[in-house]
């Protein structure tokens, strides 16, 4: 199994392109959505990271920012929306509620305890709600993860192996 220099460079280029054009979906659930809007507005300006283009439809989005409490009624819809997104897709869980149920975990009979129960999550951002900076940091963490992905290499290994 050889890992040529060309393959590595092409891989790096691909993941560079991916990480710098993450298009999030306009998907606000609760309080965190307001902070997400504030992040997209002028003071914090998400566009600087190439992910300010909030798409109204899941089919054009790469990143789902689950911003807020996921209730049991909403959980199936979240799953549907995630399934409608085209690959490659990433999920960022924003705030305590989406991470683990947050303040509603104990008596919340109608609250899903963490969005990871229905969709796989890449990055968890803490906070209730997270500061816009914290969300940006979460997106940068996700970008790091994407940068380390080796798309072609995976395929190459599959092909050769």
């Amino acid at each position: 199994m050889q890992d040529g220099i060309v393959l590595t460079k092409v891989d790096e280029f691909l993941s560079w392109g991916r990480k710098n054009s993450l298009w999030p979906m306009t998907f606000g659930l609760a309080c965190c959505a307001i902070e997400m809007m504030a992040t997209g507005a002028n003071k914090y300006d998400l566009e600087r990271f190439g992910c300010g283009a909030f798409m109204a439809t899941p089919r054009r989005a790469d990143l789902m920012i689950v911003a807020g409490t996921v209730t049991l009624k909403m959980a199936t819809r979240v799953r549907t929306l995630w399934e409608q997104m085209a690959e490659p897709k990433y999920v960022l869980s924003m705030g305590s509620c989406a991470n683990k149920g947050g303040p509603y975990w104990q008596h919340g009979y109608h609250v899903l305890k963490g969005v990871e129960e229905v969709v796989p999550v890449d990055v968890y951002v803490p906070g209730c709600p997270p500061r816009p900076e914290a969300l940006i940091e979460g997106i940068m963490t996700l970008q790091k993860k994407i940068a380390s992905e080796r798309l072609l290499r995976k395929k190459w290994i599959k092909h050769v192996g």
Partner: protein
């Protein structure tokens, strides 16, 4: 003002068993209790003929007192010169199949409020135009705000309280055996705690 209203209601509706509840310890709001059978006529009277004219129904709140259920109607008068609000109460002794006449034709606001009351406490409102759950999904079981409500373990294949997320390990405060405890204590002491 409420006393006058009670006197008036008593004379107009002898069957309604109108009672005035003053706050037991002197603070809070007073309320008027009537029988469930006379609810509709009293409501019609309060809206159209009573001198206070309660033209707005603000909210319907249900309370579970374990032995019986209670439905409270918060009525308000939106007169610019003398605004007034009032709590009208109905006691439902049948806790298994509580039912009450709908007032959604008297105040359209009651439409959604009654649906919420049903969703949370299971009070069935008769002659309601569109009677179904409002906040919880349609296939939800149980009435969450009843005091004896136990949350379902599963809903739609999703675990409501997944064990691995309930911090069981940390919450089981003192379960260590003596030797374990001593070991932990030693470790902590070494850290200077």
């Amino acid at each position: 003002m409420l006393d006058e209203l009670v006197q008036e209601l008593k004379s107009k509706f002898p069957n309604a068993q109108v009672q005035l509840h003053n706050p037991p310890e002197g603070v809070g709001s007073s309320s008027i209790e009537i029988t469930p059978q006379s609810l509709r006529e009293v409501c019609f009277y309060l809206r159209d003929q009573s001198p206070l004219k309660f033209q707005v129904l603000q909210v319907i709140s249900g309370i579970d007192y374990v032995d019986y259920l209670e439905v409270c109607y918060m009525l308000a008068n939106f007169d610019l010169n003398r605004s007034y609000e009032m709590i009208l109460k109905v006691k439902l002794s049948d806790r298994v199949n509580p039912s009450l006449d709908s007032v959604s034709d008297i105040w359209p606001a009651a439409n959604w409020q009654e649906r919420e009351c049903y969703d949370m406490l299971g009070v069935v409102f008769k002659n309601h135009p569109d009677f179904r759950r409002i906040l919880c999904p349609d296939d939800w079981e149980g009435f969450p705000l009843r005091k004896d409500y136990v949350a379902a373990k599963f809903y739609n294949g999703m675990q409501v309280y997944p064990d691995h997320k309930m911090n069981l390990e940390e919450r089981s405060y003192i379960i260590h055996s003596k030797s374990q405890a001593e070991e932990l204590q030693k470790k902590s002491l070494a850290k200077g705690l």
